[in-house]
Amino acid sequence: MSIRTKLLINVLLLVTSLLVIALVLNIARNEIADSVRRADFADRIVIGVSDMNAITYDYLMKPGERARRQWEMKHTSLDDLMKSAKFKRKEVIVIVQRIMKSHEDTALFFKQLVENSEKKKHASVSLRALLDENDERNVTQLMARSQIMASDSYLLARESEVTIQKALTWSVWFITITLVIMIVIIGAISFFLSRNITASINTLKAGTEIIARGDLEYRVPVRGRDEIASLSLSFNEMAGRLKDVDASLRGEIEEKEKAREALRIANLYTRSLIEVSLDPLVTISAAGRVMDVNKATEDVTGVPREKLIGSDFSDYFTEPGKAREGYSRVFSQGFVKDYPLAIRHTSGRITEVLYNAATYKNDKGEIQGVFAAARDITALRAAQNALRKSYDELEHRVEERTAELRESEERLTHALEAGELGIWGLDTKTGKAWRSLRHDQVFGYDKILPEWTYQMFLAHVLPLDRKEVDEKFGHATSIGTEWNFECRIRRTDGAIRWIWAQGMPRLNERNEVVSMVGLVRDITGRKQTEAETERLATFPRLNPNPIVETDMAGNVQFVNPAADRLFPDIREHGLAHPWLADWEALVRTCREGGKEANVREVTADGRWYLQTISFVREVKRIRIYGLDITERRTAELELKERTVQLEAANKELEGFSYSVSHDLRAPLRAIDGFSMRLIRDFGDKLEEDGVRKLHAISRNAQQMGQLIDDLLSFSRLSRKEMHMSRVNMEAMARDVWREIKESNPNRELDFRIVNMIPLFGDASLIRQVVVNLLSNAVKFTRDRKPAVIETGSRKEGSEITYYVKDNGAGFDMRYSDKLFGVFERLHRPDEFEGTGVGLAIVQRIIHRHGGRVWADGKVNGGATFNFTVAGKEKNIA
């Protein structure tokens, strides 16, 4: 049996006993709970009985339906309680049944009480006494039953208490005994178990100690079949194996000893090699400690070997950090080569060295440390430093020269670019040339062509100029002089441009031209400017008016041919020339007043000039232009003279008109007046013919008065000022027509207005036109019934034509040119009255408006009068 099994049994025992205890405790608990329920039951019975007793007394005191029902309810509830009660123990069930019996009896007695009380209501006195007695008996019986129920209930409660007491006592005893037994059993088992295990382990321990002391023959005694026994068996087996290994080891050790001796001899040889090396050699452990050094290392550090070994290797360098870095690099890449370091001697002397180092490994390839060999390079370094110094100096000088060169080149490039100059060099033997970008751009290329030759250049030159350019080139190369020319080229894009080029030949020692270096430039702009300048110069040259320019000091700078002809001596006199008299004031107002020019009139050589003096700010020059205005002047003078004459004539005419209007009318009035008075005062004394003749005198005088009036109004027309405005033609026609109609009340007139477009003109004059034309139409339709007169307008293009049309006497178109003449008439006075001025007035007014007037008609076919006014209708809108 194993130790584990034994322990398991022990635990199992413990668990079982605990389960038993729990079981017992549960039984006890059930018993107690049952008893408590019984005691509660008994309590409720007792309370119910006492309640019922109280109700019974209530009923006896005051019998009634309410008390009876109360009693019955209480009885029923007790009844329910008892029936629901379930008990197991026989003696308890007997008691409960007894209580139930008594309870049923109480119901019986109470019923009788109730019946009696019913009977009492109707009973006689004797019967009531009997019934009372009966009640008393019943009550006694009721009380007795209640007493029994109560005592039974107490019995029940008592019995419950006893049961609880018994259950408690029993369970305590049981648990105590069980625990004691268990402790004893578990204790015994544990004791034996431990003793058993300890003994086995001690035996094993003693055995191992014996074997450890070297007695490989000893075997541990084995007892039982538990885990310790199997351990002992394994141990014995191990001891057996150990014995075999020991034997084979001893043989091996002997062989190793021999090999080590051979190695020692070999090492001595290697060692001596290391020691004689003049380069300091050192091995360093993985931890960075010096493991081995040679004599050279001692010499270079000044530290004895004993101190060196075990110390930190980096302590002996001027730069320990750099040394450690090199050391770690050996680890990372396996070696370092020519790693520069400086070793410090204890005396302070520095030795510059180059280290070559590599890791060294054991048989398994594990790194054991670093082997480092140093080489003294102090002498080498000194030589190098000297070399570097001289190199640096050289470098510096080269840089200086390069910068100078670059600057000079930049200046040259800038100069060339600013001048838009292309540069080229030609090898005269091969004809090939190198060029700058600008050179090729001049010929229309975006980039430098791969090759350029003299022939390619010539191909670009226009055939017109090619021969001359080539001859000049031949001349320059043959005698070694400058090649300088201007010519036209056709660029690769087809554009024709002017270029200027220059080349300087280079001679060899035999004075032969070997190459040529030069410049080229596009001068088209300059050529155009020159042409433009030349063209502009012709303007003042060909100007027939004199132009003179001087500087501020008065020196004549320019005189055009016209001025030269007019003032041959102006160059000598400058500003003192009479042509320029008083120039200073005029120039000053130009300079200070900001005016562009001053203009004045001067005479020279018997002619008038309009002189313009300008100050040309840009070039600080005074420029004097002259304009011959003699003809204009003469014309103006003549015009002035004529105007004066005309004004005088006009005045005269006005006076004449006035005289006519005033003086001519007075005699006419006298003629008419005295004729009429003759007829009035002496008519009866005159013969009939005499009276008729006096009437003729009077009529003629009146006719003449009318003629004078018309003539005056006609002549006034030309003097009247015009006030232009928009004229509503339709309204005006209506207004005029109304007046005409009023003064012709006996006429049958049909008047129509058709589309009268507004007109721009002098309202009063236009009204005169309308009056005259309409009156005319009315006059010449005297024989028509009805007279139809229509006025209107029509637009033809930009021209508006107004018309007045009638169905009157009309006229012969052969005489239409006479219609509008003053005093011209197409009818005899005895046909139609009138002076022949009305239409003349119309024509004059229309002419003053810049319009036309004309008439269409035929004899007895009516007439149409048309007129337009100058294209002013745009102002109407």
Binding site: S657, R669, M704
Partner: protein
Amino acid sequence: MLEGIIDVLLIEDNPDDVELTLDALRVHKLANRVKVLRDGEEALDYIFCTGQFADRDICVRPKVILLDLKLPKIDGIEVLRRIRSDERTKTLPVVVLTSSNEQKDRVDSYELGVNSYIVKPVEFDNFAQAVADIGFYWVLLNKLPF
């Protein structure tokens, strides 16, 4: 005929016109109290009581002055200006009766404050009617301030 009392002062140089005017005024029996003056100078002398009319009483005022414009020596416009520029005479009614239909004459007359401007019609009938109407209106109908 009351001494010096006149209704109409007729300033007119043309004797024919004077006769025709007086003839027309006779219609309303106004011809008796008319004073005719033949030129501008005479007219001014009469109105301002100078020269040959120095002993005339200036307070005796005509009811209307009929003034021709074209007069010898001093023309009608000047006469009108003098009348209007004197405190004593500026309220006198003046009617220009002339042959002139010139706008200038009309404008000048009205600017000087003429009371009426009549153009003499050439036709005698019309003329006679116009003069008769003027006489009737100014002498018989119109009321003066003083």
